[in-house]
Symmetry: C2
Amino acid sequence: MPTYNAPNRDFRFVINEMLELESYGNMPGFENATEDLINSILEEGGKFTSEVIAPLNQIGDLQGCTRHEDGSVTTPPGFKEAFDQYREAGWGTLTQPEELGGQGLPHVIGFALKEMMSSANQSFGMYPGLTNGAIEAIKAKGTPEQKEMYLPNMVSGQWTGTMNLTEPHCGTDLGMIRTKAEPQGDGSYRITGTKIFISAGEHDMAENIIHLVLAKTPGAPDSSKGISLFVVPKFLVNDDGSLGERNGVSCGSIEHKMGIHGNATCVLNYDDAIGWMVGEENKGLAAMFIMMNEARLGTGMQGYAQAEVAYQNAVAYALDRRQGRALTGPAEPDERADPIIVHPDVRRMLMDAKVFTEGSRAFCLWTALLADLSEKAPTEEEREKAHDMLSLVTPVIKGYSTDKGYETATNMQQVFGGHGYIEEWGMSQFVRDARIAQIYEGANGIQAMDLCGRKLGQKGGATIQAFFAMIDEEIAAAKENEALADIATRLEKALGEQKAATMWFMQNGMANPNNLGAGAHHYMHIMGIVILGFMWLKMAKVAAAKLAAGSDDKAFYEAKLVSARYYAERLLPDAGALRRKLEAGSEAMMALSEDAFATAA
Amino acid sequence: MPTYNAPNRDFRFVINEMLELESYGNMPGFENATEDLINSILEEGGKFTSEVIAPLNQIGDLQGCTRHEDGSVTTPPGFKEAFDQYREAGWGTLTQPEELGGQGLPHVIGFALKEMMSSANQSFGMYPGLTNGAIEAIKAKGTPEQKEMYLPNMVSGQWTGTMNLTEPHCGTDLGMIRTKAEPQGDGSYRITGTKIFISAGEHDMAENIIHLVLAKTPGAPDSSKGISLFVVPKFLVNDDGSLGERNGVSCGSIEHKMGIHGNATCVLNYDDAIGWMVGEENKGLAAMFIMMNEARLGTGMQGYAQAEVAYQNAVAYALDRRQGRALTGPAEPDERADPIIVHPDVRRMLMDAKVFTEGSRAFCLWTALLADLSEKAPTEEEREKAHDMLSLVTPVIKGYSTDKGYETATNMQQVFGGHGYIEEWGMSQFVRDARIAQIYEGANGIQAMDLCGRKLGQKGGATIQAFFAMIDEEIAAAKENEALADIATRLEKALGEQKAATMWFMQNGMANPNNLGAGAHHYMHIMGIVILGFMWLKMAKVAAAKLAAGSDDKAFYEAKLVSARYYAERLLPDAGALRRKLEAGSEAMMALSEDAFATAA
């Protein structure tokens, strides 16, 4: 059975050494986040996820969720008990505000725990993960009464939450939704319609489920400007907070999916269900984006979290499995064969995975710090700056990390040879589970268009220019340092490709928006490659400084420097090829008639 | 339910127009292969695979194979009946020699049918596919008696065959096998051991199964030079050809795999089973390579065959599904939304798939012609030249086509958005089935080493130089043609990257073989990219000539020209990035100690 170990040394490196979280002690909530506290949360979180959550991953895949005739759903064996432990330990409360029963700690710490949960058991992690999205929407748009009624129990994990967007005929194009909300004159609405692909839509892990549902009021505009958001609890909540009647929402079926079998992906039927509007009428899309942004960061994390656990198991296999001999002569002549980690092609896959997961972890925790800064930085200017940067990189985290995460999980499966294809070894599950993250919370093509169609032009292009300036500055400083100069020069070249691609978009995207659409995927990947290069340069800088200072943990920092070099030499070159593709424009891509795609007999 | 249509217009284009098969009428077997005959075989094959085989694909995935308590195995509903039809129609006999009951037709035609079988139902296609490998080994190495006893029934499909190589502790490193063969003094051997991952290892589709098994005779050298090949029939064959006693080989279990559920992947237990040596003692590896080479071409085909069927279904979905509006304004203003094929990112994925599958089809059928030429060309010189080229490109077909085939199937799943992740739509199966082709018949890392460690140096480098000269010549001619010049120039650049990478290997691979190992994967991909570019240039040449001649089928040839341009602009640039990675060498890749890969808490 595959195993999971929380990479706590690396978490400590990124949080304490690279981000220097203690240096933000002037921000609310950060004053408590001492290095000691962080380390002990990481340690406890590591134990919980590796010992309690991870062992349920494979059984979740094998047994999946069961819908009973009455519409109730049973989660895989052990899930309910593990969620009880999660709730009792207060894991869901880490970063929530104290007035809601939270601990008010930085997002950076919350993100670290989320990564662990995703690596250990993505299906399980989605139950609290979706709840977080729903919490954020109610926090931002709910009435004081709604906040009081729902949030404390959602924060504690007593209740969970869901996001109900998709319908059978509409996913991306939410203007087309048909679910109706009829006002009852008493402030409540009756909701009727069918929602599909609802993760954690029905289950036995919590006593109530708070559904957030997009629907249309009578006479609403027939577009995305006519959507409102509603809160629809599975059980109505009495004024004293106790649970009342069962509401008119039920699970019609559970989808048969490629992966994440442990999460109940439901068709939810709303039949005159009672709900209340959250936020303003016809402004549901804005509220939905609050949930979506939260979910997109979590989804990006799922991408590299699956790569991380797949990597850990591939390393163990590569050290254990013996086949053939090193090309340079037997590494272990007394044994019948060498462990396969001696083979360069196995190393290539492991190193690619190592630099991707460590680079992505740094990227994601750096982004979490932006989220903290956007809420808590001392000045409005700093908060705005952080918010803009967060907004710029969010589609890259979602799109790039999940594309590469799937690719990496696939490569880790490849390390196992034939055994990788056999379900018992668990590598297939990592690949199948990783696959969903490229699709949900806005398919990656949508992320690419969000990046190129909206975010590049954000603030008249000032955000992307600030992004370039930030990396230029890091490069200029690094070039002065012998240990970093080559890495910095290679990053400069890749960043140059991104700048050129940005310029090409400016010159060719306005006149013909298809040029933007045709290159958006490539641009998103260029930017992901550059950001991870930026992270590796930052990490290398810390490592070089520690080594220069004579650190005891020499092997760790030397490995960081080698990895940074590997990333620069072997991953950055893709940026140039992607730019060339992007600059080919949309002409050949859009030239064929629809008929030309059909297969002719 | 997903569907499959044989791309017969494209088969005819490649076979009749690009390869001009009729021009080889001077070779044995080719004189009968008129354009009319080819077209009618394609038509019948298309009907059989789309109407009989393809409809069994999804049920094969859902129900899989069942092992009963007595060790017998039942294939999915419909498989046995469909195989009866396959046998009765003589589909297995197309390219086999007439003296074995075959039709003696060119491999080119046989390969076209194999592609159809793989696209329609990969699991089903593997039953006759493995049989072919076994036939070739017996043909090449068997005694006249063995040939007479086994081959006619295997060719007709009365019996099927298997390849038994892998054991639990050894896959790639076959020197480590433990299965024993004890001589009985009467020319027979008793075989004892356990083989795993045996595709089509036990089933109910044929009355006998002819296992080819690698084993060691007493006192054989403890290396790959101590392996012999044995034929072990499931039922012993009496002198009169009737079936005798059940032999001591049985299915211990069926593996639970990520995909190809319709094929019974067995653990086979050999317990004093009676077998006979095929070929010379301790020369089993050479015989095995005969099976493997046949299988590697078939496996490469599986890669793009899954991409092809996934593409067909993605096109249908993209034309049907309506979400959002074209970036350039509504394409169908009267409808609620445009079909998603208007979106550049959907087009990108479809065009990438189209140029990959059509390019790979041309590559594979061109390779099949090399196989024909290597057997039947009039002079020894021509046969040798064809054989050398076939040998050079075989690992590229296997490794490159399957890597890109899996990636393409994944992208086609992406076109479906959330529905792609739901098993009912069938896209998940295409991805899961495609995955195995990167692993079996020598994992792709082994293919890359075969290419770079053996094939590049073949005949002192003369074969790769002939490869370069062949493409140079095509490029030089194309540059004279206005319609082809840009494509040719771009291909020249990519070929230049391959030449430079080859030179780099020559200069750096001898002193440190890890430099070869570290770049082998990248080299294999560069060469795959170049070969498909070469194929697109050839196809564009034919299309341009047909258009210049005023062909009636204008839209088809124009689409070929657009596709060739798209390939040149958007796929060739990867060669440059891959070369830069390759030239980074092995230093950073091999620098870390094994400990540095472990996850530190």
